[in-house]
């Protein structure tokens, strides 16, 4: 009897990993095919980003760092679209740039989806928004962009010299940036250091949920104004915009897979504890 019970607890701890993987994949497929539309609560971090975006006046310049790689496209792209939508609604001018190597191609993929918004708002490339491309050097480059954007870029992504672009004629350094936002999976702190600490430029960050804890202390101290928490934050932003998109779709996925992972954790630990108890 005891031996039989023992084996159950041990078995519980040795479910083949293939089964776990298939279950987790299923937990993503099902909600994507059968969306449920769960309510989304807005976190204070997203709220402060939204409020801050709403203070943009027509003509203000916002720097957007397209620093995600294809890996986090699934939530950074909707996040960027949602933020840019709100900025366009406020009439702000957008300067896109990248300090990550996959950035330029990510920008083009994002633009394919965002172009209709620009067209609707009557935004013209070069006058209302511009893309400058990639700059090497990470934090050194950020410092350069803050102090003089022309040291980092001489031409835009498509080869036009900056001085021939109408929008860029009034954009030189930190004094001309109303706020910046970085969509990054790299080092969000470096943006805060170079823009906020030095020049008090309003700094927003959109990073993966896994990195949010590491920069929460900076949000609490006000060094970061708006903090978009990965896919969850992107979904909240879409809700605030009243334009539900890809990020909202992801929300259902979180429900299923998080509960599943919770169950794995539970099974593993129940098996472990019971086995230990039986052993005694």
């Amino acid at each position: 009897m005891a031996g039989k019970q023992d084996s159950i607890w041990i078995k519980l701890q040795h479910i083949p990993r293939e089964i776990l993987y298939i279950l987790i994949i299923l937990s993503m497929i099902v909600p994507l095919l059968r969306p449920m539309g769960l309510p989304i609560t807005i976190s204070p971090q997203t709220e402060s980003l939204f409020d801050s975006l709403n203070t943009l006046e027509p003509g203000d310049v916002m720097l957007e760092f397209i620093d995600w790689s294809a890996g986090s496209m699934s939530f950074h792209e909707p996040g960027c679209i949602a933020v840019s939508f709100q900025a366009v609604k406020q009439g702000a001018k957008l300067v896109f740039l990248s300090s990550a190597t996959e950035g330029p191609l990510m920008y083009e993929l994002m633009l394919e989806k965002f172009q209709p918004v620009f067209d609707e708002a009557g935004y013209v490339y070069g006058e209302d928004y511009v893309y400058l491309g990639y700059v090497a050097g990470q934090e050194t480059a950020l410092a350069a962009i803050a102090s003089d954007i022309r040291t980092a870029f001489s031409i835009d992504y498509y080869g036009t010299p900056l001085d021939e672009i109408p929008l860029m004629q009034t954009v030189h350094n930190y004094a001309d940036y109303s706020m910046i936002i970085s969509y990054t999976m790299g080092s969000p702190e470096s943006f805060v250091r170079q823009f906020n600490t030095q020049y008090n430029v309003i700094t927003h960050i959109h990073c993966g949920e896994m990195m949010t804890p590491t920069i929460l202390p900076f949000w609490a101290s006000g060094q970061i104004t708006g903090l978009l928490n990965g896919g969850v934050g992107a979904a909240e932003m879409e809700v605030l915009n009243k334009r539900p998109g890809d990020a909202v779709k992801l929300t259902d996925v979180y429900s299923f897979s998080n509960i599943l992972v919770f169950i794995f954790l539970l099974i593993g630990n129940v098996g472990f504890i019971m086995q230990r108890r039986m052993g005694k």
Binding site: R17, M28, L33, A136, E209, M210, S257
Partner: protein, 203 residues
């Protein structure tokens, strides 16, 4: 309808090949990983070249001779592959490290020391505030490593505080860990979306 676009099929193949790595180490995954490695390096060179050309070579050709200096420094980096001339690459490295360190360190005092301390000044009038201040201090003592001759005698009692600090950090790490799951799920769901919608044409 399942896609008929060959490039979608290539994309689906790579997606599945990389995923298969989690199940078992296999040649397809290895093939896909090598492709990834090479393509990333190629992309890096492409992007770096644009920078070298736009910031360095073009101004040089337009007559700003001073750009010759950083270009020579950049080229000198590659001497590290020769045993004899490796020391030349120290010049650009020293330059790069000097600029990088200066740019970072100058901000740290305010950014990650004083500002963070200021924000911890909380009136001790609620449980949350007291808990907050206490947690910061207890966890901070975990990161004090050196012992003076005097405090060596106190090591044992100090170790209780460090252990408490470790517990408090473990709670924070547990929370971060759960957040990692949601990030990875969100990222991978993007691939599932691609496979379901773009490749298989469902939904």
């Amino acid at each position: 309808m399942i896609s008929t676009d060959p490039s979608i099929w290539v994309m689906a193949f790579f997606t599945i090949a990389i995923t298969s790595l989690a199940f078992r180490d296999n040649p397809l995954a290895k093939f896909a990983e090598h492709t990834f490695l090479a393509a990333t390096a190629g992309n890096l060179v492409t992007m770096a070249w644009r920078n070298v050309y736009n910031i360095g070579l073009q101004p040089l050709m337009k007559g700003s001779v001073i750009m010759l200096v950083p270009i020579l420094f950049g080229v000198a980096l590659y001497t590290r592959y020769s045993k004899e001339y490796m020391w030349v690459s120290r010049y650009p490295t020293a330059m790069m490290v000097g600029i990088g360190t200066g740019v970072t360190v100058r901000a740290f005092v305010e950014f990650q020391f004083i500002q963070q301390i200021i924000d911890t000044f909380k009136p001790l009038n609620s449980f949350n505030n007291i808990f907050f201040v206490a947690t910061v201090i207890i966890c901070l003592t975990y990161f004090i490593y050196s012992l003076t001759p005097k405090s060596q005698a106190l090591e044992k009692s100090m170790s209780y505080v460090t252990r408490l600090g470790r517990y408090l950090m473990m709670v924070a790490f547990g929370a971060s860990m759960a957040n990692t799951v949601i990030t990875r799920v969100g990222q991978y769901a993007g691939r599932i979306m691609f496979l379901l919608y773009d490749w298989l044409g469902l939904g």
